[in-house]
Symmetry: C2
Subunit: 357 residues, 2 copies
């Protein structure tokens, strides 16, 4: 049978500590050449809505140790509005019922069969959270206990879950431009994680005492600046442009998630994404040697050094996601969902064939 | 609702003339920059079977005029045996019930929703047939009526369907190494297409009077040689290595399917595909300027010249497939399947989400 899971199923079984564990091992496998990651591709065309583009995104990965491969697909209507003075990349939920479209297909590498199909939303933020959490684990000071959080959206929740799973965090100061949003976020996540979480009204206030600065926005402009750096700080980002280049340059240790420089972009003629988004999103310009930076898999495998002294400034840049993460977390999810009997079973024959493809 | 179709549904609605029409227009759109094609990627890892590799293949495309994007995925166990003296690439049907795993996911570019999910097998050979059929339409002599066919497998059927749809074919001489196979093929397809089809026992006999030579094998060694060329012949191939390089060089007009030089290959350490398969499969070596060859979309759009004189030798090389073909034929399939009420409807909510991905 091929298992169809929904986000409630996924949320009920996928814990952050488990995701951290499975990804930590999967990254080590990848560093040792025992995993496969196919660079994300983004294809764009016009869509009905004139201020938007249609985007078909895909990424693949195989984790042989876990016996699975995965393809993650997103079929999105995307706009690039300016909100609170910064340019953002905003997906518009346009499918029937005002829903988003993101899917993961999980396959067995032993016999090729489709094991499961499920939406990507919950897993996607868990794997982003876990990747940045591993950045904190390997780079932040051991005694880090104060977090400054920039952002109060969907991704921010997973970021605080992850940091709390790898360091003895006592307090999180949270800033985002909308006061109601940041206050609701602080209430919700303070209660969920049983920690002190305080909404503050400037980014400076959020970062004042921070050991770890977590950037968790959908901004394609800078939102963290070099002037905020202090000795001993670990800065973590989920999107390339969040951190000012001057700040990246001042980091003593700067680690990328992985070395894919950008998605493979394909366009119809004229359907280019805003130039700013394109450049700020992916270019590591201005003298930072992208190709020479260490990656999270290398850091975890011990191939490169992390923090060696408390006063160093460290930085983790989650520059681009991998289908490989969906394979690793997907294997964990599949095993747990099967144990608990979750989801709809569909006949595997619906997704296989006698015809030679 | 998201429509789940099977190969019987697909075979019952998809005709070769319709596929030729939809692809001809889609290629013209692509030539004009009004389509998107993301190069195929093949990721390889070890699998349980020691003489095989696991392969996770994907390709994407968008046809704005038809309102759809598609992702085609193959999850295969692949071996490279030597059969009848030539090295082949053979997929082993390993999923439960000894089945193959190939899927197409079709999405709306207007709202992103998943319109349909279906196996790729029937559609895959229809689009290969139609692509080579368009090669015949634009390159073979108008009065071509004798076909020499090399191959008697699954792909060969679509090749004869396509050539008969675009030229007034009277007779097909069919050769493949196994006598029983070629005789069964000639009986089946002669009856299906109501033409004279004769199994012959050498490739030379198949090609003796041919106006069109159709190569339709899974060989990764040469099976068509320069010594068989004659003025006026059109040679058609579904796989890069079928035609000897010396023959490609002698063609007066040589047209590629498209300019993707090879799939994007990714491997675990050590899991390389046989060197021979890798080179013969994709390299256009020995002085043929791959980058300068015209493509089928350009030919259809009138950007490059096809055959101008009866005595010219023309050649069409279906060097690599495109997700774009699955989008175009998938749009046609979806429309026809909906009209006829075919397939299983699943709730679209199963494949969409409220969570921001």
């Amino acid at each position: 049978m091929t298992l169809i899971l929904n986000n409630d199923d996924i949320e009920s079984v996928l814990t952050m500590p488990d995701c951290l564990d499975v990804l930590e091992d999967a990254y080590r496998e990848l560093a040792h050449g025992r995993g496969v990651s196919r660079t994300r591709s983004d294809s764009f065309s016009p869509t009905r809505r004139p201020d938007a583009l249609y985007s078909l995104k895909s990424m693949d990965g195989i984790v042989p140790k876990l016996g699975v491969g995965a393809v993650r697909i997103n079929s999105d209507i995307i706009t690039w509005p300016v909100l609170a003075g910064t340019e953002r990349r905003v997906k518009v939920p346009s499918a029937p019922g005002a829903r988003y479209v993101g899917l993961v297909l999980l396959f067995s590498i032993e016999n090729g069969e489709p094991l499961a199909i499920f939406p990507d939303g919950v897993l996607q933020r868990m794997r982003v959270g876990a990747a940045n959490g591993l950045g904190v684990k390997y780079l932040a000071r051991k005694n880090a206990h104060v977090v400054g959080l920039l952002g109060s959206g969907w991704q921010a929740g997973a970021q605080v879950m992850a940091v709390c799973a790898v360091r003895p965090i006592e307090v999180v100061h949270c800033y985002s431009p909308n006061a109601a949003n940041r206050e609701a976020f602080a209430r919700e996540w303070g209660a969920k994680l049983n920690i002190k979480m305080v909404a503050v009204d400037t980014p400076e206030a959020a970062l004042a005492d921070a050991d770890v600065a977590l950037c968790a926005t959908n901004s394609i402009d800078n939102i963290f600046f070099a002037r905020w750096l202090r000795p001993g700080l670990h800065v973590s980002s989920i999107k390339r442009p969040e951190i000012e280049v001057a700040a990246l340059k001042r980091a003593d240790v700067l680690v990328l998630h992985n070395r894919d420089a950008s998605p493979v972009h394909s366009f119809t003629k004229g359907a280019t994404i805003p130039e700013k988004a394109k450049n700020k999103g992916w270019m590591l310009a201005e003298g930072i040697g992208f190709d020479r930076l260490p990656t999270l898999p290398q850091l975890i495998a011990g191939e490169v050094e992390g923090r060696t002294r408390d006063e160093q400034i460290t930085c983790f840049l989650n520059n681009i996601g991998l289908g490989y993460q969906f394979a690793a977390c997907g294997a964990l999810l599949y095993r747990k969902a099967k144990e608990r009997g979750l989801g709809h079973d569909l006949p595997t024959d619906w997704f296989t064939q006698t015809v030679h493809p």
